[in-house]
Protein backbone atom coordinates (compact mmCIF):
# COMPACT_ATOMS: atom_id res chain seq x y z
CA UNK A 1 0.00 0.00 0.00
CA UNK A 2 2.75 2.43 -0.81
CA UNK A 3 0.19 4.77 -2.37
CA UNK A 4 -0.70 5.65 1.22
CA UNK A 5 2.78 6.77 2.27
CA UNK A 6 2.78 10.49 2.92
CA UNK A 7 4.67 12.86 0.71
CA UNK A 8 7.48 14.64 2.57
CA UNK A 9 5.69 17.98 2.19
CA UNK A 10 2.49 16.47 3.61
CA UNK A 11 4.33 15.36 6.73
CA UNK A 12 5.89 18.79 7.18
CA UNK A 13 2.57 20.61 6.72
CA UNK A 14 0.79 18.19 9.05
CA UNK A 15 3.46 18.71 11.72
CA UNK A 16 3.07 22.48 11.40
CA UNK A 17 -0.73 22.17 11.67
CA UNK A 18 -0.48 19.89 14.73
CA UNK A 19 2.02 22.24 16.37
CA UNK A 20 -0.22 25.23 15.66
CA UNK A 21 -3.31 23.55 17.11
CA UNK A 22 -1.47 22.30 20.20
CA UNK A 23 0.14 25.67 20.92
CA UNK A 24 -3.17 27.52 20.43
CA UNK A 25 -4.82 25.07 22.84
CA UNK A 26 -2.05 25.63 25.39
CA UNK A 27 -2.56 29.38 24.99
CA UNK A 28 -6.29 28.91 25.59
CA UNK A 29 -5.59 26.87 28.74
CA UNK A 30 -3.13 29.48 29.97
CA UNK A 31 -5.71 32.22 29.31
CA UNK A 32 -8.39 30.24 31.15
CA UNK A 33 -6.41 29.48 34.28
CA UNK A 34 -4.11 32.51 34.62
CA UNK A 35 -6.50 35.23 33.53
CA UNK A 36 -6.14 37.25 30.40
Amino acid sequence: MEVLVNHRVTTIIASIVAGLIISLNLFLLYQTFFGG
Binding site: M1, V3, L4, N6, T10, I13, A14, V17, I21
Partner: protein
Amino acid sequence: MQSETPKSAMQVGVGDAGTLRAATEVLSGKSKKGFFCQLLPFLGPAFIACVAYIDPGNFATNIQGGASFGYLLVWVSVASNLMAMLIQTLSAKLWIATRLNLAEMCREHFPRPVVLCMWILAEVVAMAKGSDGGVGEPPGDYDHR
Protein backbone atom coordinates in the same frame (compact mmCIF):
# COMPACT_ATOMS: atom_id res chain seq x y z
CA MET B 1 -13.64 7.50 14.52
CA GLN B 2 -16.10 4.57 14.38
CA SER B 3 -15.14 1.97 16.97
CA GLU B 4 -17.58 -0.60 15.57
CA THR B 5 -15.96 -0.64 12.14
CA PRO B 6 -15.63 -4.26 10.97
CA LYS B 7 -12.08 -5.60 11.31
CA SER B 8 -12.00 -6.48 7.65
CA ALA B 9 -13.78 -3.93 5.52
CA MET B 10 -13.55 -6.38 2.65
CA GLN B 11 -16.17 -8.64 4.23
CA VAL B 12 -19.18 -6.31 4.14
CA GLY B 13 -22.24 -6.76 1.91
CA VAL B 14 -22.11 -8.68 -1.34
CA GLY B 15 -23.87 -5.88 -3.21
CA ASP B 16 -20.78 -3.66 -3.21
CA ALA B 17 -18.30 -6.31 -4.29
CA GLY B 18 -17.50 -4.30 -7.41
CA THR B 19 -16.95 -1.13 -5.42
CA LEU B 20 -14.73 -2.95 -2.96
CA ARG B 21 -12.72 -4.51 -5.77
CA ALA B 22 -12.23 -1.07 -7.33
CA ALA B 23 -11.24 0.41 -3.96
CA THR B 24 -8.76 -2.38 -3.27
CA GLU B 25 -7.26 -1.88 -6.73
CA VAL B 26 -6.74 1.81 -6.07
CA LEU B 27 -5.27 1.21 -2.61
CA SER B 28 -2.81 -1.37 -3.83
CA GLY B 29 -1.66 0.98 -6.58
CA LYS B 30 -2.81 -1.35 -9.39
CA SER B 31 -5.58 0.87 -10.75
CA LYS B 32 -4.90 2.34 -14.18
CA LYS B 33 -7.86 4.75 -14.07
CA GLY B 34 -7.64 8.52 -13.98
CA PHE B 35 -7.37 10.44 -10.72
CA PHE B 36 -11.10 11.26 -10.43
CA CYS B 37 -12.15 7.72 -11.35
CA GLN B 38 -9.87 6.44 -8.59
CA LEU B 39 -11.80 8.63 -6.13
CA LEU B 40 -15.21 7.21 -7.12
CA PRO B 41 -15.22 4.03 -4.96
CA PHE B 42 -14.67 6.19 -1.87
CA LEU B 43 -17.43 8.74 -2.54
CA GLY B 44 -20.12 6.91 -0.54
CA PRO B 45 -18.22 6.76 2.75
CA ALA B 46 -16.94 10.27 2.02
CA PHE B 47 -20.49 11.66 1.94
CA ILE B 48 -21.32 9.95 5.26
CA ALA B 49 -18.16 11.38 6.84
CA CYS B 50 -19.05 14.82 5.45
CA VAL B 51 -22.51 14.81 6.99
CA ALA B 52 -21.13 13.60 10.31
CA TYR B 53 -18.34 16.15 10.28
CA ILE B 54 -19.90 19.35 8.96
CA ASP B 55 -22.84 19.07 11.34
CA PRO B 56 -25.52 21.62 12.32
CA GLY B 57 -23.35 22.68 15.25
CA ASN B 58 -20.73 23.86 12.78
CA PHE B 59 -23.28 25.78 10.74
CA ALA B 60 -24.74 27.36 13.87
CA THR B 61 -21.32 28.42 15.13
CA ASN B 62 -20.35 29.87 11.76
CA ILE B 63 -23.65 31.72 11.29
CA GLN B 64 -23.42 33.11 14.82
CA GLY B 65 -19.86 34.21 14.16
CA GLY B 66 -20.93 35.88 10.93
CA ALA B 67 -23.84 37.63 12.63
CA SER B 68 -21.53 39.05 15.29
CA PHE B 69 -18.37 39.82 13.35
CA GLY B 70 -19.34 39.99 9.65
CA TYR B 71 -16.69 38.65 7.33
CA LEU B 72 -13.90 39.34 9.80
CA LEU B 73 -13.55 35.70 10.85
CA VAL B 74 -14.18 33.92 7.51
CA TRP B 75 -10.46 33.18 7.21
CA VAL B 76 -10.63 31.21 10.47
CA SER B 77 -13.36 29.02 9.02
CA VAL B 78 -11.47 28.45 5.77
CA ALA B 79 -8.13 27.80 7.49
CA SER B 80 -9.53 25.46 10.11
CA ASN B 81 -11.49 23.49 7.50
CA LEU B 82 -8.40 23.07 5.35
CA MET B 83 -6.41 21.89 8.37
CA ALA B 84 -9.23 19.55 9.38
CA MET B 85 -9.28 18.02 5.88
CA LEU B 86 -5.56 17.32 6.12
CA ILE B 87 -5.86 15.75 9.56
CA GLN B 88 -8.88 13.66 8.51
CA THR B 89 -7.03 12.44 5.43
CA LEU B 90 -4.04 11.35 7.49
CA SER B 91 -6.30 9.69 10.03
CA ALA B 92 -8.16 7.78 7.30
CA LYS B 93 -4.91 6.71 5.70
CA LEU B 94 -3.64 5.48 9.06
CA TRP B 95 -6.64 3.18 9.41
CA ILE B 96 -6.50 1.94 5.83
CA ALA B 97 -2.81 1.10 6.11
CA THR B 98 -2.71 -0.36 9.64
CA ARG B 99 -6.36 -1.23 10.43
CA LEU B 100 -5.88 0.72 13.67
CA ASN B 101 -7.48 4.09 14.36
CA LEU B 102 -5.60 6.99 15.91
CA ALA B 103 -6.58 6.11 19.49
CA GLU B 104 -5.64 2.45 19.05
CA MET B 105 -2.34 3.48 17.50
CA CYS B 106 -1.61 5.72 20.52
CA ARG B 107 -2.33 2.79 22.84
CA GLU B 108 0.13 0.64 20.90
CA HIS B 109 2.92 3.19 20.92
CA PHE B 110 2.78 5.30 24.09
CA PRO B 111 3.43 4.24 27.70
CA ARG B 112 0.33 3.45 29.72
CA PRO B 113 0.28 6.64 31.89
CA VAL B 114 0.38 8.80 28.75
CA VAL B 115 -2.45 6.76 27.24
CA LEU B 116 -4.56 7.19 30.39
CA CYS B 117 -3.94 10.97 30.37
CA MET B 118 -4.96 11.15 26.72
CA TRP B 119 -8.11 9.14 27.45
CA ILE B 120 -9.16 11.50 30.26
CA LEU B 121 -8.38 14.50 28.06
CA ALA B 122 -10.45 13.03 25.24
CA GLU B 123 -13.40 12.48 27.58
CA VAL B 124 -13.20 16.09 28.81
CA VAL B 125 -13.01 17.36 25.23
CA ALA B 126 -16.00 15.22 24.23
CA MET B 127 -18.04 16.65 27.12
CA ALA B 128 -16.98 20.24 26.41
CA LYS B 129 -17.72 19.86 22.70
CA GLY B 130 -20.98 18.00 23.37
CA SER B 131 -22.29 20.89 25.44
CA ASP B 132 -22.54 23.07 22.35
CA GLY B 133 -22.87 20.56 19.52
CA GLY B 134 -25.13 18.03 21.22
CA VAL B 135 -27.78 20.47 22.27
CA GLY B 136 -27.90 21.88 18.76
CA GLU B 137 -27.02 25.35 19.92
CA PRO B 138 -23.99 27.43 19.06
CA PRO B 139 -21.59 28.02 21.92
CA GLY B 140 -22.41 31.38 23.47
CA ASP B 141 -20.42 33.84 21.43
CA TYR B 142 -20.09 36.07 24.48
CA ASP B 143 -18.47 33.28 26.51
CA HIS B 144 -15.17 35.10 26.66
CA ARG B 145 -16.22 38.38 28.20
